[in-house]
């Protein structure tokens, strides 16, 4: 039965993926639903929104690997996301590096940061761990704002220069499609990586760390190594997401790239979608980013201004709506969107408070 479900899930996922791959060729308009100009599916605006959805979905699923599967509540993923965006930006714009070396440097820096900071943070547990990660992320934000050696551009940020980028990636309008596909490719890679890891023995040990760390210790498996591995992998995915972000958006500004608001957004995405499942994070991220962009657009519509201000003011603030939706979900739909589906009989029912998922397979893995 589970295999049937899995195969059905894979089939649906492939179909959806196909639709997304073909999306940039869809020249027709879908009124009301799409925020792009003229509501055309493959307009620049719409494609960029989708690209952002894909990018955050990838980052979110990587984040869920850490908080949902391994149970490490980190409040600092934005550090790696921002480092990905900024290091890449600096290498290309300030130092005139080529694409591949810049990419290598970015991932290298992210790896070193994740290993070092992760090792320090993981020396403590629970709330203290959350606070350390939050503090490090804040420190990075302050650092970036500080504009050391005039590298980051301080408050005004750093725009990505096109000079060394291969033609197909420069942010000209005609290349929006390519950026769209790059973002989609990132999501696919991130998802596949997380899927492979969580299905493997390592993934089972991650869950074991979340469920009962002490028992692992007794069995002679060192939890620290696995926690660090989960942390580093999650951070690398976030950093790669940062690179995609800067390619798509073109500028890195501290307030939008490095602030704790990003962490909170990603956290909400994961919980909204349903933590501890993989596609939950993807769905949650896409819904969240989409709503965020769309609501801004709706608020700008002329018909919107005719609403009475009691309605208009709250509705014009995407932040309010998203926050309110999130509160409602936490109160009434703790399993997130995937939880809703689970109640309808599709997939598992995740819950951030009482994770029950995979305890059997964990026990099997531990018996090895």
């Amino acid at each position: 039965m589970k295999n049937l479900m899995k195969r059905r899930g894979a089939l649906i996922a492939s179909l959806v993926l196909l639709v997304f791959i073909l999306l940039p060729f869809a020249g027709f308009s879908v009124p009301w639903i799409l925020p792009g100009t003229l509501n055309v599916v493959n307009s620049s605006g719409t494609l960029i929104v989708f690209a952002l959805c894909f990018m955050f979905a990838g980052v979110a699923v990587g984040y869920d690997l850490m908080i949902g599967f391994t149970g490490l509540l980190s409040l600092g993923p934005v550090l790696y996301f921002a480092s990905g965006a900024y290091v890449f930006d600096i290498a290309i714009t300030r130092w005139n590096w080529a694409l591949v070396p810049a990419l290598a440097l970015t991932m290298g820096v992210a790896f070193v940061l994740a290993v070092l900071l992760g090792a320090i943070a993981l020396r403590v547990d629970g709330i203290a761990f959350a606070m350390v990660t939050l503090a490090f992320a804040q420190a990075f934000y302050f650092l970036v704002e500080n504009n050391p050696h005039n590298l980051t551009g301080g408050d005004t940020g750093l725009a990505l220069s096109n000079l060394r980028l291969p033609a197909f990636l420069s942010g000209a309008v005609s290349n929006t499609r390519n950026l769209y596909w790059v973002a989609l490719a990132f999501l696919v890679v991130a998802f596949v990586v997380v899927w492979l890891v969580t299905e493997s023995v390592t993934g089972h040990i991650f869950v074991a760390v979340r469920e009962n760390e002490r028992r692992l210790d007794v069995l002679g498996i060192k939890p620290f190594r696995f926690k660090l591995a989960s942390f580093v992998l999650s951070s690398l995915i976030a950093a790669a997401g940062g690179v995609v972000y800067i390619l798509v958006i073109g500028t890195a500004v501290p307030a939008t790239v490095a602030s704790t608001t990003v962490t909170i957004s990603i956290l909400i995405m994961v919980v909204l979608g349903g933590s501890g499942t993989r596609w939950g994070a993807v769905v949650g991220a896409m819904v969240y980013v989409y709503l965020q962009q769309y609501l801004v657009k709706v608020a700008g519509e002329p018909s919107f201004a005719t609403l009475p201000s009691v309605l208009r003011v709250p509705l014009s603030q995407p932040q309010f709506l998203l926050g309110a939706i999130f509160v409602l979900f936490v109160l009434f739909v703790p399993g997130g969107i995937t939880g809703l589906f689970a109640r309808l009989g599709v997939g598992r029912d995740p819950s951030l408070d009482k994770p029950r998922w995979r305890t059997l397979s964990v026990a099997k893995a531990l018996k090895k």
Partner: protein, 301 residues
């Protein structure tokens, strides 16, 4: 030397405000295991409540009176917001600590968004009596009156809070509950009431902190995101001081306030080091967590 004294005074005033924000957070975590991310919201709402009062009443009753009322309003505003939050959002999630934390995150996001929509993201000005903008001459230095106010309020609150915790029944219940919530229940005491009380007290102090911060450090200007910017420092103070310890919050608040101001003044002037004040606080946190994870006065979690 006089610069040093002025900076010290300013750092102490900042410490007083941090203490107001952090002590409530610390009690809430100590008793309820909740990281209250809406605490910044309570600070912001307190500041807005104060602003509303001065905006409406200054012309009729004069600035000094309206300031007094504004202070009261900030306390009430914070307390009310906290009380509503606890009853409608926290209580239904009893037994689900992660969800409780998440709901405070969502609440903060939603209401700050609402404030941005309602008041615009630009800052509003609080009308204050003239003396608040002036400084008092002490010895051969000038110390800002607003800082005196913050310090005075901080000290008064500390004394009142300590009295409450040591001399009243609910104070004892709260102190016991921070140590061992379960055992308090096992003595026949309804801990739920203590939860609401702690939230309300925390909210009241947070509201006060929000208003005072605006008066002392942001030129009487308030904005929707002010409280959240303060919140990160409040968290840091709580962790350094030790979760659940009022004394810890007080000591840590002073240390953090002074550190921030000293480094900002003496090092922050140099090019490329503008953010050193903030950075040094974060560094201190990392150091404390590595050396003594439970904080200066905290008990083993």
């Amino acid at each position: 030397m006089s610069a040093f004294l002025v900076i010290t005074f300013s750092g102490l005033a900042l410490g007083a405000i941090y203490f107001l924000a952090a002590s409530g957070l610390s009690l809430i975590y100590g008793l309820m295991d909740i990281l209250n991310f809406a605490h910044g919201l309570f600070m912001t709402l307190g500041a807005y409540a104060g602003w509303e009062v001065t905006a409406r009443l200054t012309s009729s009753i004069g600035a000094p009176a309206s300031l007094t009322l504004a202070i009261l309003a900030s306390i009430l505003g914070g307390a009310l917001a906290a009380g509503i939050t606890e009853v409608f959002l926290i209580r239904p999630l009893y037994g689900r600590p992660v969800s409780q934390i998440l709901v405070t995150i969502g609440l903060d996001l939603a209401v700050v968004g609402l404030l941005m929509g309602g008041f615009g993201s630009s800052a509003l000005q609080i009308t204050v009596p003239i003396w608040l903008l002036e400084a008092t001459h002490v010895g051969n230095i000038n110390l800002p009156n607003a800082s005196f106010l913050a310090l005075a309020v901080g000290v008064v609150v500390l004394i009142v809070l300590e009295w409450f915790l040591r001399r009243t029944r609910y104070g004892i219940i709260i102190r016991a509950g921070v140590e061992n919530r379960e055992m308090v229940s096992a003595l026949g005491i309804n801990v739920g009431r203590a939860f609401t009380l702690v939230f309300v007290i925390g909210g009241a102090m947070a509201g006060l902190a929000g208003l005072l911060y605006a008066l002392v450090f942001s030129g009487d200007l308030i904005s929707p995101t002010q409280g959240d910017s303060l919140l990160i420092f409040a968290f840091i103070v709580v962790v350094i001081g030790g979760l659940g310890s009022i004394r810890g919050s007080a000591v840590a608040a002073v240390i953090v306030g002074l550190l921030q101001d000293y480094t900002s003044f003496y090092i922050g002037g140099h090019p490329g080091w503008a953010e050193i004040g903030n950075l040094s606080v974060v560094l201190l946190l990392a150091l404390v967590l590595e050396w003594r994870p439970r904080g200066l006065f905290g008990s083993v979690a």
